[in-house]
């Protein structure tokens, strides 16, 4: 259940973040490449009273996220969309429903039928449906399922002017899929009990850290965590990975059902640190600005992988041009601003910076030469985890 990609959508913590996406999108679309982010904190707690304010470039409220949204191509400068589109979305409705509805509302002749299920389930559904699949676009939470679909020859290559909107490491070399937003693996830590220097910069060093004994959290059944262990398996080999898992179990790591709950637990001081995707930390901070919660990164190893959510045109698409142009819209200034400010992911087009207390993409140190699509091969990873007694 937790490996369902839809659960990437925000976690099962007991707190939820109030946002007003419709309002945001209305303002985001109102001006070129602009989002009205009047006071991110109030905005996210649903108390934003600035909906009527005329959004203008650079005109932003409280300082934390400031003038981050800039650059990119507006939807208005993109080809019009007309016709019917069925989108198989492995990204949760709570996260991207408003964005898709916004695009649909923008064009009177566009009819979008979104279908929200887990990314892996949708890939299997497309394969089972064969050439009779109604899917036009597959919108996935990770590169792995996109790569899998491409390997099964079920994708239609995207035009190069769409894939070229993102850096080459974030799209398939043959153009079968393109990343639309990014997520980095991070170490959230409690700033009251630890300082940044207490967090190793080498992921393999964690089991030896006595200061972290009985005070870390992980979510082994969670898809992104399994991708991270898979990266370790690819980079460091099975034996080292098994030892690492066993070492963490021996260190007394606490098990959580998802990573949002870990970020909350770190903020509350229940544990001192954990393993999560970067945006969960930002979601907690958006809700509680003063939380003693900060982000640490490891360097150049499995602990620092940068995966992407992305989209592909399915080979059964009735109108491949329309489908490709929809994907293009996911890389528009508005959509990228939406990902940055609403889902707290890394925008992938140049010039749109992440929101919050995060380094830019260029400042991250993901492992070199790791093929993101390989990270879907969690099969042997599940075995390793089971071998050390973790239920997945």
């Amino acid at each position: 259940m937790d490996s369902r990609d839809t659960s990437d959508a925000g976690g099962a913590g007991r707190r939820t973040l109030g946002t007003s996406r419709r309002r945001f999108l209305q303002s985001a679309g109102a001006a070129v490449g602009v989002a009205s982010l009047a006071g991110c904190t109030q905005f996210l707690s649903g108390e934003d009273a600035n909906a009527t304010e005329t959004p203008e470039f650079g005109q932003i409220g409280s300082g934390r996220i400031g003038d981050q949204i800039q650059g990119g191509t507006s939807m208005q400068d993109m080809p019009d969309l007309a016709g019917e589109l069925t989108i198989y979305s492995g990204r949760g409705e709570a996260l991207v429903g408003e964005l898709i509805a916004y695009i649909e509302d923008l064009y009177p002749d566009l009819d979008i039928q979104p279908r929200y299920e887990g990314s892996s389930q949708l890939v299997q559904k497309i394969l089972n449906e064969g050439q009779n699949s109604p899917a036009d676009v597959f919108f996935s939470v990770n590169a792995g399922s996109l790569g899998f679909l491409a390997d099964e020859n079920r994708t239609e290559p995207l035009p190069s002017d769409v894939t070229d909107m993102v850096r080459e490491e974030f799209h398939d070399p043959s153009g079968n899929w393109v990343g639309t937003s990014g997520r980095a693996r991070t170490i959230p830590y409690n700033t009251e009990s630890l300082s940044e220097s207490d967090i190793p910069t080498d992921i393999m060093a964690f089991p030896d850290q006595e200061q972290l004994a009985d005070s870390m959290g992980w979510a082994p059944s969670y898809g992104s965590f399994q991708a991270f262990v898979t990266a370790m398996r690819i980079l460091n080999g099975e034996e080292a990975t098994k030892q690492w898992l066993q070492g963490m179990v021996d260190l007394g790591v606490e098990e959580y059902t998802d990573e949002f709950a870990i970020a909350l637990a770190v903020a509350d001081g229940e544990i001192d640190a954990g393993f999560t995707n970067h945006y969960y930390i930002q979601r907690v901070l958006a809700d509680r600005e003063d939380a003693p919660l900060a982000t640490a990164f490891t360097e150049g190893d499995a602990g620092a992988i940068f995966n992407v959510a992305g989209a592909a045109v399915v080979d059964t698409a009735e109108d491949t041009e329309l489908a490709a142009n929809f994907v293009r819209h996911l890389l528009s200034a508005e959509a990228q601003a939406y990902f940055a400010t609403t889902t707290f992911e890394y925008p992938l087009i140049p010039d749109v910076e992440p929101v919050g207390d995060l380094p830019t993409i260029d400042e991250l140190n993901p492992p070199a030469d790791l093929d993101l699509t390989q990270l879907s091969d969690i099969r042997p990873t599940l075995d390793l985890m089971r071998e050390v007694g973790i239920s997945v």
């Binding site: 959508a9 007991r14 939820t16 946002t19 408003e98 039928q113 099969r379 599940l382």
Partner: protein, 544 residues
């Protein structure tokens, strides 16, 4: 067999009469249709090469999963019987105070989807859960572990024992209580009378309920997933998500193993059930009620404990989510709409109707024309019940897309496929209940109608059917209830844009917007509770 289990109608000649061809063909066709999706699973499993298969099946994971699953099924089934039979006895045969209330309250857990129950128990009793937070000021740092086998078994038992409770109650109500009184006058102790007279009489009903519990436990995915206990469904799901050939192979083989376990359970039930009792229709006689005396208090405590745990925990947690979720403006697309409730009720009603009709000939044949063929047909109708919804859903997607052509593209066959999936999965509930109905109608009644010049069909319609109707309706209501709660097949097969209460609960829950999950969950519980009340009003399977 002990003499008291013999039918009251001495060896009816009907048992040996030759099978009516039309009816047999019809029932056979229904059973074949129901077993059909298994062909896909079989084909998938057989594609795995022999050595690979052997290798996969003897792996540590596979063995552990097999042991875990069988252990869970055994414990949940046993625990359900241990809880449900005394409760049924208390609410029917004793002077327990507020019997009516307890009957309703103790049946109600059936309307709570077990995954909501599991979530509620984790929220309440898990580490850092609600209860722990409440107790924290008292210095209680940790509660006993809820995850794993204990939690899974506890939650599964609490939400499935009503299958045994309801069927046992019906049987206790219709059995001729004068037999017990007779045994008592023959100087048997109360326990002795219970063992010698009551147990054999209620045994078919208890095993029928236990069979539903066992098969439900085997097929449920949500509870073990939430409780982090590796069973067939959970590992099949994880392996299917791994998107590798190896994982697919393992998933297929585990599904196959799951089907084999199902057959074993069916065989065991067939053994234990023994020969059926047929009671005289409409003349069940109440014996004297057992006076509890001082035992009243422990009896009340048992009722309160079971109903309280199973109902108060989820309703309390849902209400807490509802109150806390009040300020959520998040995810407007997750706002509740009544349409979801109408959709749920709509497909569930159709599924109940179809399952009721499909179960009728099978049940009739199984009771009135006992033979190897009718036995096989009846057993076959149970197999789909244990197949996990995900496996069933994917199999039907495959068939629909391959052979549905344009109809699939235009989603015209998705509703029929969805209904078919429900019928395949829940037909046994209809068959079991209708079968019990037929058992209580004496064949001599329709014989009498025949001698009065009615055709066989007219005799059936005018005499037998009205008497069987409560059992038929009870079975259909059970299918309705279960369909309302079904998730995985609904997710896979529903037409795009078609949302039901559970698919909505699922997306709200998966994204952590619990406040949005609370309203549909409460609506689901209320609607199901209403249909449960209807069922209880006619006292389940009571012919009267």
């Amino acid at each position: 067999m002990a003499p008291e289990t013999d039918s009251l109608f001495p060896s009816s000649q009907r048992g040996e009469s030759s099978l009516p061809l039309g009816l047999t063909l019809l029932s056979g066709a229904i059973a074949a249709a129901v077993v059909f999706p298994l062909v896909w699973i079989l084909a998938n499993a057989l594609e795995v090469g022999g050595t690979t298969a052997l290798d996969l099946l003897t792996r540590e994971t596979t063995l552990r999963v097999f042991l875990n699953s069988t252990l869970l099924v055994a414990v949940v089934t046993a625990a359900s019987i241990v809880i449900a039979v005394p409760l049924a006895y208390l609410t029917v045969r004793t002077n327990l105070p507020f019997k009516r209330f307890w009957t309703v309250a103790l049946s109600m857990p059936l309307v709570v989807p077990s995954y909501i129950g599991a979530f509620a128990f984790v929220s309440a009793f898990g580490p850092r859960g609600e209860l722990q937070s409440l107790l924290a000021p008292l210095g209680i740092e940790q509660l006993p572990e809820i995850y794993g086998f204990t939690g899974a078994a506890l939650v599964m038992t609490l939400y499935t024992y009503p299958y045994v409770f309801i069927s046992t109650r019906a049987s206790l109500k219709t059995m001729d209580a004068r037999l017990v009184d007779a045994a008592r006058t023959l100087k048997h102790s109360r326990t002795e009378a219970f063992r010698r007279v009551t147990i054999p009489q209620i045994r078919p009903a208890v095993t029928a309920g236990a069979l539903l519990v066992a098969l439900y436990t085997l097929s449920d995915f949500g509870t073990p997933a939430i409780m982090r206990f590796d069973v067939f469904t959970k590992v099949i799901y994880a392996e299917q998500n791994s998107l590798s050939t190896f994982g697919q192979d393992l998933a297929a083989l585990l599904s196959l193993q799951l089907v084999v376990v199902t057959f074993v359970i069916l065989a065991i039930e067939s053994r234990v059930r023994g020969s059926d009792t047929i009671s005289t229709s409409g003349t069940s006689t109440r014996g004297a009620l057992v006076h509890l005396g001082a035992w009243k208090w422990p009896a009340l405590a048992l009722c309160l404990g079971v109903a309280g745990l199973a109902l108060v925990v989820p309703v309390g947690i849902l209400t807490a989510w509802l109150i806390r979720g009040g300020s959520e403006s998040a995810a407007a697309s997750l706002a509740f709409q009544w349409e979801y409730a109408f959709n749920s009720v709509g497909v569930s009603a159709v599924a109940a109707l179809v399952a009721g009709l499909a179960g009728l000939p099978i049940a009739y044949l199984a009771v009135r024309h006992r033979s190897r063929a009718s036995w096989l047909i009846e057993r076959a109708s149970y197999v789909g019940y244990a197949v996990p919804g995900v496996v069933m859903g994917l199999a039907l997607v495959y068939f629909g897309a391959r052979y549905g052509g344009q109809f699939y593209q235009q989603e015209l066959i998705l509703f029929p496929l969805l209904i078919f999936a429900y019928v395949v999965r829940f037909l046994p509930q209809a068959v079991g209940s209708t079968r019990a109905g037929f058992l209580q109608v004496s064949p001599t009644l329709s014989d009498a109608a025949r001698t009065l010049g009615r055709s066989p069909v007219a005799a059936f319609r005018e005499v037998t059917l009205p008497l069987v109707a409560p059992g038929l309706l009870g079975g259909a209501l059970l299918v309705f209830l279960t369909t309302m709660k079904e998730l995985p097949a609904t997710l896979l097969l529903r037409p795009t844009g078609f949302k039901t209460l559970v698919t909505h609960i699922w997306s709200a829950q998966a994204s952590g917007h619990f406040g949005h999950a609370a309203i549909p969950a409460l609506v689901l519980v209320v609607v199901s509770a209403l249909s449960m009340l209807v069922m209880l009003a006619m006292e389940g399977y009571d012919v009267k």
